[in-house]
Symmetry: C2
DNA sequence: TCAAAACATTGACCTAGAGCAAGAACCAGA
DNA sequence: TCTGGTTCTTGCTCTAGGTCAATGTTTTGA
């Protein structure tokens, strides 16, 4: 099936860039990655459940978010095309997730189970290297986020987001952007006119 | 030298717990870790320089912080005893650090160069595993921090810090705690009476 | 041991951004 | 293509936490 072949090609390119893996090695494990589809607003992971898989977005987007004591959604991350995304904390610790993962748009993605994934990390030096890279980047991204969110005004944070993820304001609903930035949709609406 | 031996013992325990490494393997590379001392307020890393080493605290503490456009210090992390601490972003990317690392108290620590460290990560599966664990925890900690800092009131953040790092309020100067929590020392002073 | 400097507290203000209500514009799906 | 429900905007008001100034309290290093 051409579509699946093509999707594997995209995943292969991803691994190859991060680790220089050879096609033969990739072919040997690629079937651990299962192609999946999610409708708009479909939940991939519910709060309270242990995250069982790692996901690689082919087309569409996921959002990772929590709901706090006051019932407000707090978005931590938008997983866009060509990115792995999961609740790493839950996946690593096998602890109940405090996050939801939800498709924002109709989304095509690969899914690999925790067991298979960490097996690959342990047995394939190339996957190990790619995982290390994913972790390192996840960490770096989250550090940047801490520094950007703290100490900047809401307007500056918005400008930063816009510069860093061009086009995201057009693609993702404003209320989700607001949640990601830690401001209310009201404030965001007012700030957009100042951009 | 007893002191050095003892310090290696502590580092060995650390690695052993995370990876189950054997004493022989540890002994083969332990001399890559060099014992160092820093005076109170001594800088370990200056902003703008590429971070060259990873550090393991034996006694004392480091703080990692940035200075923003308005000249305010923003503390990201307190490295206490028995923890690795460095500017991972700069160390990994070999990019100029945007952070300072400074000893808060007189501090005894191990230092290992980037080259030696990543060599060990590549060649020793046990160190690789320990590094993975460090990265995973760094990531998890920073995720928690994002969720705690956003959406909680300043008082709740303070309570969280106090519960999570018992005794830190007595040990670390208030103005640093305030900076870590993203509030002013004035606000912290007022909040402490509400604890 | 003690002076100078750094740190902490408190009071009186001020402001960025929240909350809420009401209405307008925009979809998604049937 | 229409329609009912989301989403977005805008005005008004309110509050958590910031700023600044004045004063008291620790630290520390010579």
């Amino acid at each position: 099936m051409t579509d699946l072949m093509n999707s594997y090609q995209i995943l292969f390119s991803y691994f190859q860039q991060l680790s220089g893996i050879a096609a033969e090695e990739f072919d040997a494990f690629k079937d651990k990655f299962v192609l999946q589809f999610a409708k708009r607003k479909e939940f991939i992971l519910q709060e309270g459940r242990v995250c069982q898989s790692n996901y690689f977005i082919l087309k569409g987007s996921f959002r990772m978010y929590q709901i706090n004591e006051l019932g407000q959604e707090m978005i931590r991350y938008f997983a866009l095309e060509n990115k792995f995304g999961t609740n790493l904390t839950s996946l690593i610790e096998e602890s109940p997730s405090q996050e939801f993962i939800q498709a924002i748009e109709p989304t095509t993605y690969f899914k690999i189970s925790r067991v298979d994934f960490f097996n690959l990390v342990e047995t394939s030096p190339h996957v190990n290297k790619a995982y290390r890279n994913i972790l390192e980047n996840a960490y770096i991204t989250s550090q940047k986020r801490i520094y950007k969110l703290q100490g900047m005004t809401a307007l500056d944070r918005l400008k930063w987001l816009n510069a860093h993820y061009p086009g995201i304001l057009a693609r993702i609903p404003s209320k989700m952007i607001a949640s990601y930035l830690g401001i209310t949709p009201f404030t965001l609406s007012r700030l957009k006119s100042e951009l």
